[in-house]
């Protein structure tokens, strides 16, 4: 004997994601309009009380989004928000003399060369819930799998995209550095080309 379980009523929502405003760079007010692409909400209004276990969005090898919910197991956070190390920081090398530092174990004429990492401007980056591409997430490609997939993280090579599905192409933003000015490219665009395949690549073997 088992109690009958009433099916949970399916609820639909007509909630429209509303624009919200924020103040950036201390004084500048701007209106942010959230957008939903392939089920992922971009530029969503942050919660009033920040949740340390806030779900984030990962991408599979095709570029399909999948939500990851962090958990606390044995006092440790499992599947937490990804850590980008210093990939999105800017390195500055500072040279300081002993006189400037005033260290007790340093002569006045000694020089200390110190690496200082400057954090990036997260004004707009923070609105993206999808995992960012870093060189750590590059995959190898080619027949011998010995060529890095840079600057792309997703999709992987030779995956199959179905039509009318949305896939996220991700790349490492700092890969595009102008060699003349040493500045990161502000804008990029993607192109798609047809590739002529050989018979054996199509699967038609010689009889």
């Amino acid at each position: 004997y088992r109690n009958a379980v009433n099916p949970r009523p399916t609820t639909t929502t007509s909630e429209v994601i509303k624009p919200w405003r924020r103040t950036i760079y201390s004084t500048q007010v701007e209106v942010v309009t959230p957008t939903v692409i392939a089920g992922v909400t971009f530029s969503a209004k942050p919660a009033v009380t920040p949740d340390p276990l806030q779900p984030w969005v990962s991408l599979d090898k095709l570029g399909n989004p999948k939500t990851v919910k962090p958990e606390i197991k044995k006092g440790r956070t499992v599947r937490g928000t990804p850590d980008y190390s210093t990939y999105f920081q800017t390195l500055h090398v500072t040279t300081l003399t002993g006189d400037e530092i005033g260290a007790h174990n340093m002569d006045k004429d000694d020089i200390l060369v110190e690496d200082v990492f400057e954090d990036e401007d997260k004004t707009y980056v923070s609105l993206n819930p999808i995992i960012r591409c870093t060189p750590q997430r590059y995959r190898n490609k080619g027949l011998a799998k010995d060529i890095s997939s840079e600057p792309f993280c997703t999709p992987f090579e030779n995956v199959e995209w179905k039509i009318d599905h949305t896939y996220f192409v991700t790349w490492y933003t700092k890969f595009f550095e102008d060699p003349e000015t040493d500045k990161i490219a502000e804008k990029v665009r993607l192109h798609a080309f047809y590739v002529k395949e050989k018979a054996h690549e199509k699967g038609f073997k010689k009889r």
Partner: protein, 163 residues
């Protein structure tokens, strides 16, 4: 659009590091599958100087999920008029019938154990085994044999190495 590209996006902010792409049926040009190269062009590279093969990624665009052909075994079964589940029913029926017959036989013997008398059969079989052949003297082979008293047979014991 860039020369040779069948699809190009507008200029997007590089800081985002992602772009949602949705392949459409037009990309396939009436084919089931096309292999494409996706390349990314930064704003500091001119169209003429841009090489898509430098940092491109190859992938396939397909119409839908692949449906694989049947194997030779499946085709042979279909030719024999057996489709899918029928084969399993046939394979399971024979051992099931054997099991049912054994169970029925067991119950039949169990129920009739009191009405069964196989005494004659058993006694006859025992008698066959204990058949009386007659006395020793009646055998022609031993008629002339004198019944000598029993004498101990010689024994052969192992000799030690000293002997």
């Amino acid at each position: 659009n860039l020369h040779g590209a069948f699809f190009s996006t507008e200029w997007v902010k590089n800081v985002d590091g992602l772009y949602p792409m949705e392949p459409t049926e037009e990309w396939l040009q009436d084919k089931y599958e096309r292999r494409i190269l996706i390349a990314i062009q930064p704003d500091y590279i001119e169209d003429e100087a841009f090489d898509p093969w430098a940092n491109g990624i190859l992938l396939h665009v397909i119409m839908g999920s692949r449906v694989f052909k049947n194997t030779k075994e499946q085709l042979a079964l279909q030719d024999a008029g057996i489709s899918d589940d029928t084969w399993y029913y046939v394979a399971l029926t024979m051992p099931t019938m054997v099991v049912v017959a054994c169970v029925a036989m067991y119950f039949f013997l169990h129920l009739n154990k009191t009405h069964r008398d196989i005494h004659d059969v058993r006694q006859f079989a025992v008698n066959q085994r204990r058949r009386v052949l007659g006395t020793f003297k009646t055998f022609n082979k031993y008629k002339k044999l004198k019944n000598r008293p029993y004498s101990e047979l010689p024994t052969h014991s192992k000799k030690s190495s000293k002997q």
